[in-house]
Structure formats: structure tokens, C-alpha cells
């Protein structure tokens, strides 16, 4: 009897959908993993060995990670004060900004990169003269790096803005700001000691999404001629069979580890956000 009762309460349908969804994500991953092991049955991790031996892998992977970190920092510096100010003082601008953050979804990356190249491939002159005060950004390495980070920021902005904005909605940012102000806090103190700590989980998820976008990005990097991980993986995929599978699997694992870490770090935070 008891067993039957429990059986009746068991949410079969929910679990069925969950299993189907899980299969949808896990099967391709398993297939990739299986394939990456099948190069040489005698040396099961041969594909991984080969991939990690390649200097170009390390160079591009590290470069992409550095780009990701810089993009995340720049994005946070740009997005947090913006989202904060809009919630605080310009709620009527919310719609406009939300529309702007949708642009990267509408405008393909290829258009973005051609636009960047067109605008920044000519030197900057002081208006109405021929005096050049800056070389064209596409002409030197640091310039290209600036361009690519700027491009990544555009691509990452929707994710960053939306997670930060949602994070600010869950804590009552307006009242907390006023409470801090009446206690004598300056804007800097309010942002660093009150706002940022309370949107930590939102920042982390925004940062993770940004990271995933930057490390996997192909179009911007190849057209700007930057040796990033995306183009490397793409090239590798055209010439090799097993190493790309191994590397894809590794990047998947990395992402999952990062997600697990966010769950760990923010697990205690979710409760504090509610207030009561």
C-alpha cells in the first residue's frame, strides 16, 4: 500500500522530461568523448596528449583566457554603474537600454567585425587638420587587442547587463542605497561595500557567460587576425580528427567545473537576497 502511495506521488512526467533533456545534452558529449578515445586503442588518451603537446594550443588558449578576464573586468566596470544608475535615477531609460542590449543578438558578429575594421583601419587625425594623433588601431598588435576586447564587450553585454539587472532586482537596491547614504556612505563605498557584495551571484553568472562566449568566439578573432582559441580549434578541426574532439570535451568540462563552483560560492547567498 505504502509503496503504491509513494508511486502515485512520484512525478513521472517531470522526470521523463528531465531525462529526455539530459539525454539531449549528454549524448553528444558522450559521443565526442568516446570518439576522442578511439584514436589508438593502445594509448587511450593519445588525442589529449597530442593536443596538449602543441604550443599553439597553449598560446591561443592562454590568450583567449586573458581576453576573457579583461573583457569581464571592463564589462563589470561599464555595466554595474550603468544598471545601478538606471534603477536608481533613470527608470524611464530602462526600455531604451534593454533594447540596446538586444542589438548584439540582432546584428551578426560578422557585421560587427567589418564595422570595426572599417572605422579603425584609418589613422585618427585631429579634426580639420592632417595631423595624425593615433595610428589606425588595426595596424599594431595592441590596437587589435583593444578592438577585439571592445568587440567581445559588445557580444557579452546583453548577458552581463541582464544578470546584473536581475541581481539588483532581487535585493531592494534603492532602499539599501538610501540606508547607506543616511549612514554617511559615499558613492564609492555604496557601490563597493553594499551593491557589489549583494549582486555577487549575478556577477558570477554574468562573468561565466562572458567567459564562455569569449573563449569559444571564432568570427571576431579570425577577421581581426588574433591568435585566439576559437580560430585555433576551428583550424584544427579542418585538418585533424581526434584532437578537436578532445579539446571540445575539455572545454565542456571546464565550463561545468566553473558552473559547479558558482553554485558552491552562491549557494549561501541566495537565502540572504530575500530579506526576511
Amino acid at each position: 500500500m505504502k509503496f503504491l502511495n509513494r508511486l502515485r506521488k512520484f512525478p513521472f512526467l517531470a522526470w521523463l522530461w528531465f531525462l529526455l533533456g539530459a539525454l539531449y545534452f549528454v549524448l553528444p558529449l558522450l559521443a565526442t568523448f568516446e570518439f576522442s578515445l578511439s584514436w589508438d586503442p593502445a594509448v587511450p588518451f593519445k588525442a589529449y596528449q597530442r593536443a596538449f603537446e602543441d604550443v599553439r594550443f597553449w598560446r591561443s588558449f592562454i590568450a583567449s583566457n586573458v581576453f576573457a578576464v579583461i573583457t569581464i573586468i571592463a564589462c563589470i566596470i561599464l555595466v554595474v554603474p550603468t544598471a545601478y544608475w538606471i534603477r536608481l535615477r533613470l527608470p524611464q531609460a530602462r526600455r531604451i537600454v534593454e533594447f540596446i542590449t538586444l542589438m548584439p543578438f540582432v546584428v551578426p558578429a560578422i557585421i560587427l567585425v567589418f564595422g570595426l575594421i572599417r572605422v579603425y583601419s584609418t589613422p585618427f587625425t585631429i579634426p580639420f587638420t592632417n595631423i595624425v594623433f593615433m595610428q589606425a588601431l588595426t595596424q599594431f598588435k595592441a590596437g587589435t587587442n583593444i578592438l577585439i576586447v571592445a568587440g567581445y564587450m559588445v557580444l557579452a553585454m546583453p548577458y552581463m547587463y541582464r544578470s546584473v539587472d536581475t541581481g539588483m532586482r532581487t535585493v531592494d537596491i534603492l532602499t539599501l542605497t538610501e540606508a547607506a547614504q543616511s549612514l554617511g556612505a559615499s558613492w564609492f563605498v555604496i557601490i563597493t561595500r553594499v551593491i557589489l557584495p549583494n549582486i555577487r551571484s549575478a556577477l558570477l553568472s554574468g562573468a561565466l557567460l562572458t567567459f564562455a562566449i569569449v573563449v569559444g568566439e571564432v568570427i571576431l578573432a579570425s577577421f581581426l587576425g588574433v591568435n585566439a582559441f576559437g580560430p585555433y580549434l576551428f583550424l584544427l578541426g579542418q585538418h585533424r580528427a581526434y584532437e578537436p574532439a578532445a579539446l571540445s570535451f575539455v572545454s565542456f568540462l571546464l565550463t561545468w567545473i566553473a558552473m559547479g563552483m558558482i553554485q558552491l560560492v552562491t549557494g549561501g547567498q541566495n537565502q540572504t537576497a530575500g530579506g526576511h
Binding site: 532602499t175 539599501l176 543616511s182 549612514l183 556612505a185 559615499s186 563605498v189 549583494n198
Partner: protein, 353 residues
């Protein structure tokens, strides 16, 4: 000498005047309540004192200094919010110490003051808990301690008890009052609950639609309301249409039944249409000793309200409420029976229509 002076303060949002020519002098250590219905401008006035809104015109002086245009973080004013507004990422002790840390007080001073404050609000056992681990009442006490820790010149409380349940509300309001008295701190308390305002204030400002209706002690506000709005809003009140009968004797008539009013009908003429207002608790059943305002009434209905019994009576064609204290030996008249009821001359207020 007033300590906080709000003079001729007006606040407009766009074209709507939300606070209209507000004038108030508050003495040091005084506890003043702003009382009024929703949307009458209480919060806006309080926020102008805190610095979160700028007056459209007028001046605010605190201890002689003009603070009208000072930023909120330069004012040394403590603020308590209805939603507690504790920092979720900080413990009770860190919340209370926040204002002192911001002021760059020495660690020893912060520690000392925080522990003083924690014992003031009796939360010693909870110093290292986070806000979400506390009940609403405890959170609001932390918020009180946090505001008091910086030794503010004025404490502003915006409906601090509204989110709490009835029992806690009553106990916390007397706790707030006793802490305020013992520290001698000047306080403004915003509420739309008249009982709250009456029970804890030195003075009450009754507001209506952006204007001050009356300023006075709870006793004055309750017993001598100056306007019909105040009479109606504070306490419950019977009002009835009436006509002036005799200006010399202060006689008015309600549906032909005559009442004498102690304050008289000065400045009015015989035959003027007025309103009479009588509080329910001022009515009682008449005995032989009663001479003034003894009138016939029909008992229409009887309702138990706990400590009070509310009896609905009909005088002439008008219904009135009459309150008497409940006790087990109370002999209540039958519904539909005819009784003589009375009220003193002082209880009859004559108001403009």
C-alpha cells in the same frame, strides 16, 4: 529655541504639489509624529529632512545650520525604513558598525559602540547572525541600532512598524519610545495608524493632501480637533447634519432633537447649516443626575468589540454609535427598545459643513 526647523517647505513633482507650505518647529529631544492618510505627503516631507528629496521652496534648519541643500550623507540624520533595509551581506554587528566604519572611527570605538547598541536592543545572542536569520521585529531593532550608532542629530522613522504583526508592533513601539527618551534623541515618526501616533508622540502633525491640518499634543488632537478632517481621522466619530438654533446658548438641533455645545456656536447665525460631531465613547445611558443633553434614542444594534461594546442608536432620524466598556455584569438594553442617552456639553463639537 527650536532644534529642527522646517519653514515654508513646498514640494512639487512636475505640476502636482505634494507638500504645501509646511511649517514646523521641533524641540530637542521631542518625538513628533506625522499622521495622515496614504498619499498625503508624510514620506515626502520626511525624505526632505533626510535629504533624499530637495524642497521646491523653503528651508530646513538643523541646530541652527541650513541643511536644505546638503547631501544625505553629510547630514548626520538616522533613517529607519518600513522594509528594514538591512545590508543582507553583513551580520547584525557589521550592519550596526557600518556607519561608524564609514566615518573612519577607530576599531576599538566601533567595537565598543556596536556592543553598546546590541545590548540596547537586547540582541546579544544574535550579533553574528545575518538579517535573513532574524524575525521582522528583530530586524527592525537592528535597523534602529544601526541608525542610532552614528549618534544622529535627528532620527527619522518611516512607518517602521507597518510590516510587523499586531503584538510586536505594540511592544516595539514602546521600546522605540523608551530608547528615544533615554537617549534624548529628536525623532520624527511617520504613520497612518492613529493609535500608534496617539500612544507614543509628544506632538502630532495631522496631514491631509499635502497640507498640515493641525499640530498638537495627542490630548489636544483627540479632544479638540480643529477641523472636521482631524476629528474624523483621529479616533472614531459620529457626525450629523444640524442647524444652529440659539447662538447665545450654543444650541443646535439634529432632526429636531436639541444639543447644547460647550464651545458654543460663535460666529454663526441662527438657521446656519452645520455638522455636529460626538465621539462614541462620550455617549452614555442617562441617569437621574444627568441634566444636559439627555435625549431619547432607539437601540438599533449591539456589537462586541472585545473590551468595548458598540451600541448603534437612533436619535431623530440619524444613527449614532455609542461605546461603553465591556464587563461581565453589563446589562444591555434590548434591541428596538427606547432609552435615554446623554453626553456632556463639552462632547458636542460644532464643525463647518
Amino acid at each position: 529655541m527650536s532644534y529642527l526647523s522646517i519653514s515654508n517647505v513646498t514640494k512639487q513633482f512636475g505640476d502636482t504639489v505634494v507638500v504645501d507650505n509646511f511649517n514646523l518647529e521641533i524641540g530637542k529631544g521631542e518625538f513628533v509624529s506625522f499622521l495622515g492618510p496614504s498619499g498625503c505627503g508624510k514620506t515626502t516631507t520626511l525624505r526632505m529632512v533626510a535629504g533624499f528629496e530637495n524642497p521646491t521652496s523653503g528651508k530646513i534648519l538643523l541646530d541652527g545650520a541650513d541643511i536644505t541643500d546638503k547631501a544625505p550623507n553629510q547630514r548626520n540624520v538616522g533613517m529607519i525604513f518600513q522594509s528594514y533595509a538591512l545590508f543582507p551581506n553583513m551580520t547584525v554587528a557589521q550592519n550596526i558598525g557600518f556607519g561608524l566604519k564609514v566615518r573612519k572611527e577607530a576599531d576599538a570605538v566601533v567595537k565598543q559602540r556596536v556592543s553598546e547598541m546590541i545590548s540596547l536592543i537586547n540582541l546579544e545572542a544574535h550579533a553574528n547572525k545575518y538579517p535573513y536569520q532574524l524575525s521582522g521585529g528583530q530586524q527592525q531593532r537592528v535597523s534602529l541600532a544601526r541608525a542610532l550608532a552614528i549618534r544622529p542629530q535627528v532620527l527619522l522613522l518611516d512607518e517602521p512598524l507597518s510590516a510587523l504583526d499586531a503584538k510586536i508592533r505594540v511592544s516595539l513601539r514602546s521600546e522605540i519610545r523608551s530608547i528615544q527618551k533615554s537617549l534624548g534623541i529628536t525623532a520624527i515618526f511617520v504613520t497612518h495608524d492613529q493609535e500608534e501616533a496617539l500612544s507614543i508622540s509628544d506632538r502630532i502633525v495631522v496631514m491631509n493632501a499635502g497640507e498640515m491640518e493641525q499640530v498638537g499634543t495627542p490630548f489636544e488632537i483627540y479632544n479638540f480637533p480643529k477641523t472636521r478632517f482631524v476629528a474624523n481621522f483621529v479616533g472614531s466619530l459620529n457626525t450629523a447634519d444640524a442647524e444652529v438654533v440659539d447662538t447665545a446658548k450654543g444650541l443646535v438641533s439634529v432632526d429636531g432633537v436639541q444639543f447644547t455645545s460647550a464651545e458654543g456656536t460663535k460666529g454663526r447665525n441662527k438657521g446656519d447649516k452645520v455638522k455636529v460631531a460626538i465621539r462614541p465613547e462620550r455617549f452614555s445611558f442617562a441617569t437621574q443626575q444627568h441634566k444636559d443633553n439627555v435625549v431619547d434614542a432607539i437601540i438599533e444594534n449591539i456589537t462586541f468589540l472585545g473590551s468595548v461594546v458598540r451600541i448603534q442608536i437612533k436619535i431623530g432620524n440619524t444613527s449614532f454609535n455609542m461605546d461603553t466598556f465591556n464587563n461581565p455584569f453589563l446589562e444591555l438594553p434590548k434591541i428596538g427598545s427606547k432609552q435615554q442617552v446623554t453626553c456632556s456639553k463639552e462632547a458636542v463639537l460644532v464643525l463647518d459643513e
